[in-house]
Symmetry: C2
Subunit: 331 residues, 2 copies
């Protein structure tokens, strides 16, 4: 295991392009390829190493035993995995797709037994393509690095190391736990924004003319490209259904209470307290704890910290430093 393993990025859109930039900025030797000629040309024009095809990039990856980063939409993952199987089947693989279970299943299907550790940086903008990316996109952001029964600690450490080199903080999480969490804090917010935008527009020009801060904020992400929102939400179907059912239940209860008693106290007090939890988490004091990655229960320890909101902020040798809520924290 080298701390400076090379990186091969497949897909040079907003996220992949930012990974390539950030990896290079973090001291890695890295190159990329994209099916978009525009993105490839722009990356090359910006001085980055690009290959004319994924096959070329993967041949180089096999030769260098590089870490492969799959940064394509979920719908293109199968095809890319097929190329990995053809050209670099023994490399360590990660990805930056917004759902994890479907990608893991695709890996099992196409490359059974592959060294795969899923990832998901929680960063992005409404923009897309190489031009929208930045080496700083992941600075301070959470980057989930998945842990499953079969995960090898050395592989996990490699992928977490790349995330740290890109400026992110690493959240260890099971793949299903990840998918359930992002359904609630990313995919449901997108869906509610779409619904709110439509209900507002149903009110006609008067309603839209009166719209101010709360409507503007609540509908902002409905401005994202519909195909991206669809790919993200539809790709996480089962977890999103759970989250939608929770929302439907809570909104239905609010409706019932408003209609019968005129009160929204339960809904509004619960929401306010939940929002305060979020803000407390963001302003909480921190402590650092060390996890010895040589211990047999290291990955379980990491999962336990991750599920409580902890983040790995440094890796040195066999030691992971985890930032957890401290004495001034809310939990």
């Amino acid at each position: 295991m080298s701390p400076v393993r090379d990186v091969c990025v497949l897909g040079l859109g907003l996220i992949g392009g930012s990974v390539l930039r950030a990896a290079v900025a973090g001291g890695r030797h890295a190159w990329g390829a994209s099916s978009s000629q525009t993105d490839t040309e722009r990356a090359a024009a910006d001085g980055f190493t690009t290959c004319p095809s994924a096959a070329d990039a993967l041949r180089a990856a096999a030769e260098a035993d590089a870490l492969i980063v799959i940064a394509v939409p979920l719908s293109a993952v199968d095809a890319v995995l097929g190329q990995v199987a053809a050209y670099a089947p023994n490399c360590l693989i990660t990805d930056v797709v917004s759902v994890k279970r479907p990608v893991a299943e695709a890996v099992d299907q196409v490359l059974p037994g592959a060294r795969y550790v899923g990832g998901h940086p929680m960063a992005g903008t409404a923009e897309s393509g190489w031009a929208a990316g930045s080496a700083e996109l992941f600075r301070g952001a959470a980057w989930v690095v998945g842990i499953e029964e079969e995960t090898q600690v050395a592989d996990w450490q490699e992928v977490a190391g790349l995330a740290l080199d890109c400026g992110a903080q690493v959240v260890p999480a099971g793949l299903d736990e990840h998918d359930a969490a992002v359904a609630r804090i990313s995919h449901l917010p997108h869906l509610l924004a779409e619904v709110l935008a439509s209900v507002g527009a149903d009110g006609g020009p008067l309603a839209l003319a009166l719209a101010a801060g709360s409507f503007g904020d609540g509908t902002r992400v409905a401005g994202s490209r519909p195909e991206l929102v669809r790919a993200m939400c539809e790709g996480n179907r089962m977890a999103l259904l759970d989250a939608v059912d929770d929302a439907l239940g809570r909104l239905g209860a609010a409706r019932g209470s408003l209609a019968s008693t005129g009160s929204l106290a339960v809904t509004i007090n619960a929401g306010h307290s939940a929002r305060e939890q979020l803000m407390a988490l963001r302003t909480a004091g921190h402590e650092h704890v060390q996890v010895d990655l040589g211990e047999p229960d290291a990955l379980d320890m990491l999962l336990s910290y991750g599920s409580s909101g902890g983040r790995v902020v440094a890796l040195a040798g066999k030691t992971a430093t985890v930032q957890v809520a401290g004495e001034n924290g809310s939990n």
Copy 2:
């Protein structure tokens, strides 16, 4: 009718305090009173004319034939109207409460036959109290000035004139149309933010630790004081129920489609197109049209422009200048 009618503001919180500041900045002689000693003292310390009680402020209003601005929460409107009835029953009255039909009904009850024209400036922050206010709060904002069958054009013009002096643009609207519109673009967004915050927190510390832009934006207004959100939403019960039913229907349809076909195309395409309508409205080119307030159908004309998203941007003599979407506009 004087273009410089005095203004008496009852309630010196965020909105009332901003009206007092903006009215004075706009050249009016204005004074205020508040049941909050803190707000009264701060207003006086900032150099504004305050009265020790609403009774004193209203006696001065009666003497000067001032325009009375009721700037208290809906729950306090009845009590304030009782004082108006006692001390200044012949003055023109407006208000800045976020729902209009309940205030109009209170006026009918407490002061039948009063000269009342309801108002609602679409501006605010999550803060409250005098200290949070500003003379600039209404700059460029929409300020609904209500029109009913019995509205006198001269009274409407007085209230619209105050809104313009405060830097706002005037949206003429029926009271029920106003309440229906704000249910969709202000009260429902608050309720969805509360629901989203709770569903996110239901996901535990992992979910909150992964929360980024879409969840932060979508829950921002859940940070507002629960008693203010309750007063606003519960005060607009019937219209909010309609909006909630629309949201429940759309979210339920999305759920059904996701569960059965896996597709969210209808929901996401509709939401994206609605959001684009909003943005198009905000960047649309404008034209100006004149309405002669001396004509018998003047208020109907204003209502018609208002319902299409038009705003009165100037009043001079008997002429209202209305800004409407122009050739570059979206509608």
